[in-house]
Amino acid sequence: MSISSLKSLRSVVVPMSAGWSLFLVGGLAHADYALNFQKPVTEIGREVYDLHMLVVWIITVIFVGVFGVMFYSLFKHRKSRGHKAATFHESTTVEVIWTVIPFIILLVMAIPSTATLIKMDNVSGSDMTVKITGYQWKWKYDYMDHDISFISTLSTPQDQIKNKAEKSENYLLEVDNELVLPVGKKIRFLVTAADVIHAWWVPQLALKKDAIPGFINEIWTKIDEPGTYRGQCAELCGKDHGFMPIVVRAVNEKDFTTWVKEQKAIKLAAVAAADKTWSKDELMQKGKKVYAQCAACHGATGKGVPGVFPPMEGSKIVAGPVAEHLNIVMNGKPNTAMAAYAAQLNDIDIAAVVTYERNAFGNDTGDVVQPADVKVLR
């Protein structure tokens, strides 16, 4: 190695090892150049963090040991220094030693890992259950014990994504409806999906589980402190995989009870609203909002994506009988990306979005679909 190559070696090794040492002493991540896990807020999270750091220390020691020897050799045992090659080429003793020692190191890792895994697996004795369903590209939460359910979607405006507006602090990690949970309670999650595989991941809770259509996975958590914890879908699920965040807002028990009451009131109001007859303007206004969910595929201007997602502009179904239009929106189309929206949207939303589609993008059927028309189809 020439002097210049030694220098360039240093230019890589120095910043890299500086990064790694910072990582070892610096602990948890928060800054712009975050190096490590976000701060865990559950007991399991802390155990996982400790396990992670245990293994990191082990591999750091192995790394420094092995490459310490190698670099020593690279500098000392070179021809240019006149070093003569030895001739040895085997030793059963050392071979046995460096087979056995790794085994022992592995045991040191395997024992605590097994213990933590067993704890993670124990979902029994939970205080409440939330069912999580992944959809392309949003999450639905059903509070099984409280009869509350809602959809949670990205709330970052398109303008920020398209670089037309300044990005907000929680860019891409903010949603319209947060998953509100009480602290100090053991919460069981049932994780599933309606279309393709997603994965529900909140780093600070140390929870990541695949959401698989047709299967239900169980996980649990018990959050220590109130706060907002952000995560994302972790399994590639199509075009907008990068745009389906998760926001958990952990609150104390009293606030949780208040929140539950509010949600019930909102639900009652919605039931009342579904019974009245809506004007076309009201439906169009509401429909435009709901259509934001459809725009991911069918396009904000109803043009779709050629070859993949059909346009709403000039669609035969949209221009055809209302019943067929309602049918595809409510029941979807099996084995395509078109989901059954009956489970995701309420009667008002479905009536509104169908009315909207039939009277926007140059479609002018003039049809008005009422929530009551949807209700009879359920």
Binding site: M16, V94, G238
Partner: protein, 519 residues
Amino acid sequence: MSTDHHEDRPQGLTRWLFTTNHKDIGTLYLWFSFTMAVVGGIMSLVIRSELWEPGLQIVEPGFFNQMTTLHGLIMVFGFVMPAFVGLANWQLPMMIGAPDMALPRMNNWSFWLLPPAATLLVLSLFAPGGAPGVGWTLYAPLSTRAGMGMDFVILSIHMLGISSILGSINIIATILNMRAPGMILMKMPMFVWSWLITAFLLLAAIPVLAGAVTMLLTDRHFGTSFFDAAGGGDPVLFQHIFWFFGHPEVYILVLPAFGVFSQIIPTFARKPLFGYTSMVFATATIAFLSFIVWAHHMYTVGMPMGGELFFMYATMLIAVPTGVKVFNWVSTMWQGSMTFETPMLWAIGGVFTFTMGGITGLMLSVTPADFQYHDTYFVVAHFHYTIIGGSVLAIFAAVYYWLPKWTGHMFSEPLGKTHFWLTLIGFNLTFFPQHFLGLAGMPRRIPDYALQFTGFNEVSTVGSFITIVAQLIFFYLVFKCIRGGKKATDQVWEDAEGLEWAVPSPAPYHTFATPPQVK
């Protein structure tokens, strides 16, 4: 000798189309894989440019997914695998003292299946809806719902698979039947051993992949529901089948690299390989273990705990034979008389970076912690350290090691070294920060990201451009070396051992028409 044959060999295009000569076919494989590396490399630049800063800059999310999918498939099936088969074609006969491969016509076929397969893969971009944006892992049911591009990919994988199977049958037949008298198995060079074991891995793993994509095809078009829960199927089944292929596949990519390191390090340390026998057994053990660890790629699917524990323990075990290999390479250097010609630099760099990927692999084996690492940039960093750090650096090491034998000229050492240092620096700048991104919570396969990930993504993008631009040097160097340069001796490297150094440089079209005697 067989010089008169030279005169009969066709010239021009037909020479390459109809050739059954292992050296010609090796050359074809190597140029093909270089071309694919360029295509896949350009795609990686599209990915890294989009990730330069938050927001959508240059591509739409759907197209971004198409890029990650094709980048992965092309680099694995179009670049790394064919590159090693190319090296095998050139070197195996010369290293075991055989006149050619055992099945020369089939050899021609194995190669000529590749260009149409690769074309199909790239053409999928122009299918209605574009290439599938489902990731190289092709997970159902995302892939069963993808557009027509997916069918292109399925057909292409079938052709690539047939090519690999034919190639590995040929390699096994050659190694087992055509060794020179006296070359017993336990005297074979390590590169030959690694390829023998790799070829068996290919034979076992590729048909499984073919099965998986065939089931995808019938689910898509013929009404089956292997992977559709609504029809009684199971989406997770796809992952089990895929990774039953996929884990051996990663060793298919890296075992030949181990073989290359084991050839080069002793040459430039001027000392025999330390622990030859344990190297052979470690390689075989790794190959065996590679078939019982597949589910560590899918810890989060919700396996029963017993399963998760089994796969965790089995995965940890792989560290033992892999550790043995690294220790043996370091012991080979120890007390040697080392010089650092270009091939040696690449080999040492390869051992170093591969080991970094190996130890992050140990982190990933720990199930409860893997729940956090899984599907993040940590994993992206990990496997690029093993595949670029291990396999790709080894491919360059091998090309530099044998290039003088192939062309008859020495290459430019300063250029080779510059290529090495720029690649090493660029590669580490690209992928080292990705460890931190993953730990801090950035998922993989996303076209846009939260603001706190900006800094390291910028570093990574700069690194990727350095890495790719550095490869222009390689192209220029090879081009120059073919055209001329200092005459290479037959021995090429002072202390290299093996039959390939007994033949003239450049190696004549036919070598070992009469087998040498190995003592």
